[in-house]
């Protein structure tokens, strides 16, 4: 399974109520269920007129299939190839330190 970042354009996304988000979640779960292949919805973030989602699937086409079945837009589907953060800087330093030691 690969991890994908999905950008969806949703006008007025940040104004969605908790009930509306729950409804979307139900629809999405049903879509995942119906695929009949491995699929994992990790998490989603609402920001402005966009919703960003992290999903796991075998390929981008399956991500789009999920979107079609849920009736969701999906403007960008990009595979996540690496993950890093503040800790990455020190990780590298300590790796180097370990190497030279």
């Amino acid at each position: 399974m690969k991890l994908f970042l999905i950008e969806r354009e949703v006008q007025g996304a940040s104004e969605l109520t908790h009930e509306q988000l729950a409804e979307i979640s139900r629809t999405s779960n049903a879509a995942v269920e119906s695929l009949g292949v491995q699929y994992n919805w990790v998490r989603s973030y609402v920001a402005g007129d966009k919703i960003y989602c992290l999903h796991e699937a075998s390929d981008a086409e399956t991500i789009r299939e999920h979107a079609r079945r849920g009736g969701f837009s999906c403007e960008v589907v990009a595979e996540v190839v690496a993950e890093f953060g503040p800790h990455t800087a020190t990780e590298l330093e300590s790796e180097r330190a370990g190497a030279t030691a």
């Binding site: 949703v10 509306q20 979307i24 119906s34 919703i51 079609r68 969701f72």
Partner: protein, 887 residues
């Protein structure tokens, strides 16, 4: 991330390529070249191309290949559904979605939507593809016609595909195809079957015998390709067998899914896949058949012929179950009621069919798709069960929609049935509504007596909501028969009723009709300004029909009272309004008024064009003047009219009798008098002329029409037409009680030259010329012959020549063979538009912009106008504009 349809439409599928594209283009090079050229030129010159051929001829394939992978334009696609009754505005919604325009649940009337479409096109070269237009809905045709009229001046290519074998004479697409044929920027491509050589190319390497395939398929590209896909099998007997060959290896569960998908003619919405438990591995297996294609609309068949083949193979008895499954799934995602009604009906679910067809009809009405509204209401009514009063309400709506599509006899039937049901249920409100509706339909059918009977029946229910509508119809009828007292009485009643019920529209309607009465019968020109304000106010408050009725009546009064310029500028505003707000009865009526206007101004060709438009299926009430115009122009020219000049006058006579309106009866009697003069023959009908003048001549507002009739009767007398004795010795301008309009009065007093001057000043050249024939100045009388000839009134000129000879004039010139005198009588409506803009001094480029045509076409029109006017330059047109009645 809501799951509304609107959001879904922004979603772009990327999977189209993972399925076989299907038919390769073979033997379509010239057609492909034609389309590519159109796309390449779109930046400077728009066009409309219709691609026709039988099912499987490769129309979609041709359009797809032409529009894919090109850089000239962006492409928006709209599909028409093979649903029994199509979704109103389905293809238009599709293309708007592709252009990024969001249309809500209520798309509104066709014209505003068409304007939004053109806005979305803007200045960016665009191709609109409308596929399978044999299934198009009425409102979409309206939008496309609006676009077609403007396409040339836009960076826009519209590609329309349709099956020509399925377009009968009354097909909803006909008017658009007519437009395309007439457009300078319209072309048609007909796709024929493949030649034997092309079939060999498709079959290459399969070992199949090409001549056998040609004999079997007639060269149908889809059929040939299907055969080529299964070379190992025996030649299939039909398209169906060829398609089903692809399903031979499919398991039972998968076959059922193929059948479910075939049951959804508009494709299976992707959102239904979870509810129908169709998972990805199963879809992948189905892909292998090569029959399916995914699009923005969901999972569907690559070709309609393939879908039909699978659908036809579903065992009887299974179909309703499949539709029920789809229906249940569709209800879960909140689908279009048109689609829900289709599946509910096919599932045999009567209650749901009634409910969804009812909603679909309401949406179709809103969109102006009246044919579809009729179909949905009929569907709702065909489902057994339901409360009688509910049925009655559906029937009442049906009768109105049937009237809107000019199915008047059926409209009467529907409303009669509704009346019966409401009477049985002792529902007074319903009864009043039914009688009020019936009265309106009878009035539009030009049956005054029946209309009045139903008004009286509706008015028997004082408290019914429909009482106000019946009362205002009563007022309209009173006004139309020049009954000033009854009009003002009804005005008082409707006004207080409107106040009592806080019915703003009724109040506005009452004021509009009352004020129109003041203009017609009170000789009150200040009332005209008040009426215009009232109408604008009504339009601003969205009382569309009321506003339009006000304009309709005023335009007719303006023409009657010879305020031609006022009438012209009024109609320029009000006719587009009737189209925009979808009020066909007013559009027909006003087109009829314009037909008379052009006729009175001597613009006969343009008048005939409008007359023909109304006579092609317009309501009887609007047809009176079109019949008179068609008949009289033919008689004056001495030409046979299509349908026969006499037939037109006979029709007009019968209509006037049924309508019983004084202005109508006077106009028709005058037409018969003119006919008697032109043909120099006796006509027993004229025996009633004097009595008619006595009967209605004293009514307010008839002075122009009595004047015309009196002048014709006088002409019959003085020119010794045989049978003038039928007037029973009654003098034409019968007694002192007859007040006639000034120019006619002058003529009756023998002051022909002054009368001619007045007619000329009013812009009525034919009347002016005939008055001059009566001049005591020999030269003036002879010159009038040339005026008549210049107008093309050859028969009138010949008759006048005879009259002058009889009068003893010595030098009456013989008939000229042709005329080169400038005259706008032969200009078509379009040429007249061009001529008027040229007269205003507009350049071709400005003119092109104003008329939505390309400068090249504008150039073309201007030369045609100059030729017809017999003028050398546009400067001459400007100089002589006023004399030609162009400004």
């Amino acid at each position: 991330m809501t799951s509304t349809a609107a959001d879904r439409e922004t979603f772009r599928t990327a999977v189209g390529g993972s399925y076989p594209v299907g038919v390769e283009l073979v033997e379509r090079e010239p057609q492909l070249e034609h389309l590519r050229t159109a796309l390449e030129r779109s930046r400077t010159q728009g066009c409309f191309v219709a691609v026709s051929g039988e099912a499987g001829a490769g129309k979609s394939a041709l359009v797809r290949v032409a529009t894919t992978g090109q850089q000239w334009t962006r492409v928006a696609r709209g599909l028409c559904d093979p649903l029994e009754t199509p979704r109103p505005l389905g293809p238009v919604r599709d293309v708007l979605a592709d252009l990024g325009v969001k249309v809500g649940a209520d798309p509104g009337a066709p014209v505003p939507l068409a304007e939004r479409l053109l806005d979305a096109v803007g200045s960016e070269p665009t191709t609109l593809v409308i596929e399978d237009a044999q299934w198009v809905d009425e409102a979409s045709v309206e939008v496309l016609r609006f676009v077609a009229r403007r396409v040339e001046a836009l960076p826009l290519v519209v590609l329309l595909t349709y099956r020509d074998g399925e377009i009968g004479p009354d097909h909803v697409l006909r008017p658009l195809l007519g437009d395309i044929a007439r457009l300078d920027a319209g072309t048609s491509i007909g796709l024929k079957g493949l030649s034997i050589g092309a079939i060999r190319t498709v079959l290459a390497g399969t070992g199949i015998d090409a001549p056998s395939v040609l004999a079997l398929t007639g060269g149908n590209p889809f059929f040939v390709t299907e055969i080529a896909r299964h070379p190992a099998e025996a030649l299939p007997a039909s398209v169906r067998d060829a398609v089903l060959a692809s399903t031979s290896a499919v398991g039972a569960a998968d076959l059922e899914v193929l059948q479910v998908i075939a049951t959804a003619p508009d494709s299976l919405d992707d959102r239904l896949l979870p509810a129908l438990a169709i998972d990805v591995p199963q879809l992948r297996r189905l892909e292998a058949t090569g029959l399916l294609r995914r699009s923005r609309r969901g999972v569907g068949y690559r070709h309609e012929l393939a879908r039909r083949a699978v659908e036809d193979s579903i065992p009887p008895g299974v179909t309703p179950r499949l539709h029920a499954r789809i229906l249940l799934a569709l209800e879960g995602v909140g689908a279009d009621p048109a689609v829900l009604a289709h599946h509910a009906h096919a599932a045999g679910d009567d209650a749901r069919t009634r409910a969804y067809a009812d909603r679909a009809a309401a949406e179709a009405t809103q969109a102006g798709s009246h044919r579809e509204a009729v179909a949905f209401l009929e569907l709702a009514l065909a489902a057994p069960g339901g409360e009688p009063v509910h049925r009655a309400a559906l029937l009442e709506r049906l009768s109105f929609q049937q009237y809107m599509v000019s199915r008047l006899p059926e409209a009467v039937e529907s409303i009669s049935e509704a009346t019966r049901l409401w009477a049985e249920a002792r529902d007074d409100d319903g009864l009043a509504a039914a009688h009020s509706r019936r009265a309106l339909i009878e009035y539009y059918s030009a049956r005054r007596a029946a209309s009045e009977r139903h008004i009286a029946l509706a008015l028997a229910h004082r408290d019914a909501p429909a009482y106000g509508a019946a009362k205002s119809l009563e007022m309209l009828l009173a006004f139309r028969r020049n009954d000033a007292d009854a009009t003002s009485e009804a005005r008082k009643v409707t006004r207080s009723l409107a106040q009592e019920r806080s019915d703003d529209e009724l109040l506005v309607r009452s004021e509009i009709l009352g004020t129109a009465g003041d203009v017609l019968m009170g000789d009150d020109l200040a009332a005209r300004d008040r009426l215009l304000i009232l109408v604008h106010d009504a339009a601003a408050r969205l009382f569309d029909e009321t506003a339009s009725t006000g304009w309709s009546q005023l335009a007719a009064i303006d023409v009657e009272q010879r305020r031609f310029r006022d009438a012209e500028s009024l109609l320029e505003q009000s006719l587009p309004f009737t189209v925009d707000r979808d009020i066909p009865i007013c559009e027909q009526w006003q087109t009829g008024v314009r037909s008379r206007l052009q006729f009175e101004r001597g613009r006969w060709e343009a008048g005939l064009e409008d007359a023909q438009t109304v006579l092609d299926g317009g309501a009887p009430i609007a047809s009176l003047w079109p019949h008179l115009v068609a008949g009289l122009v033919a008689l004056r020219r001495g030409e046979p009219a299509p349908g026969g000049a006499d037939d037109h006058l006979e029709h007009a006579w019968r209509l006037a009798e049924q309508m019983g309106e004084p202005l109508a009866r006077l106009a028709v009697m005058a037409a018969f008098a003119e006919r008697a003069w032109l043909l120099d023959l006796r006509d027993p009908r004229l025996a009633g002329a004097a009595a008619l003048l006595r009967e209605v001549g004293g009514l307010p507002g008839v002075q122009w029409s009595t004047g015309r009739l009196a002048v014709w009767l006088r002409r019959l007398e003085t020119d010794h037409v045989d049978g003038v004795g039928h007037l029973n010795g009654t003098s034409a301008h019968d007694g002192p009680s007859l007040t006639v309009a000034e120019p006619s009065a002058l003529e009756l007093e023998g002051r022909s030259d002054e009368a001619a001057q007045r007619w000329r000043a009013l812009g009525a050249p034919y009347e002016a010329a005939l008055a001059r024939v009566g001049s005591s100045d020999e030269q003036v009388a002879v010159a009038a012959l040339a005026d008549l000839e210049a107008m093309g009134a050859w028969a009138a000129a010949d008759r006048a020549r005879g009259v002058l000879r009889e009068r003893g004039l010595s030098r009456v010139p013989a008939r000229r063979r042709t005329t080169t005198v400038a005259n706008p009588s032969g200009l078509t409506s379009r040429q007249l538009d061009v001529a008027r803009l040229v007269a205003l001094g507009l350049t071709n480029a400005e003119l092109a912009q104003k008329l939505y045509i390309s400068p090249r076409t504008a150039d073309h029109h201007v030369s045609a106008v100059l030729t017809k006017l017999g003028l050398g330059t546009r400067r001459e047109v400007v100089r002589r504009a006023s004399e030609l009645g162009l400004v």
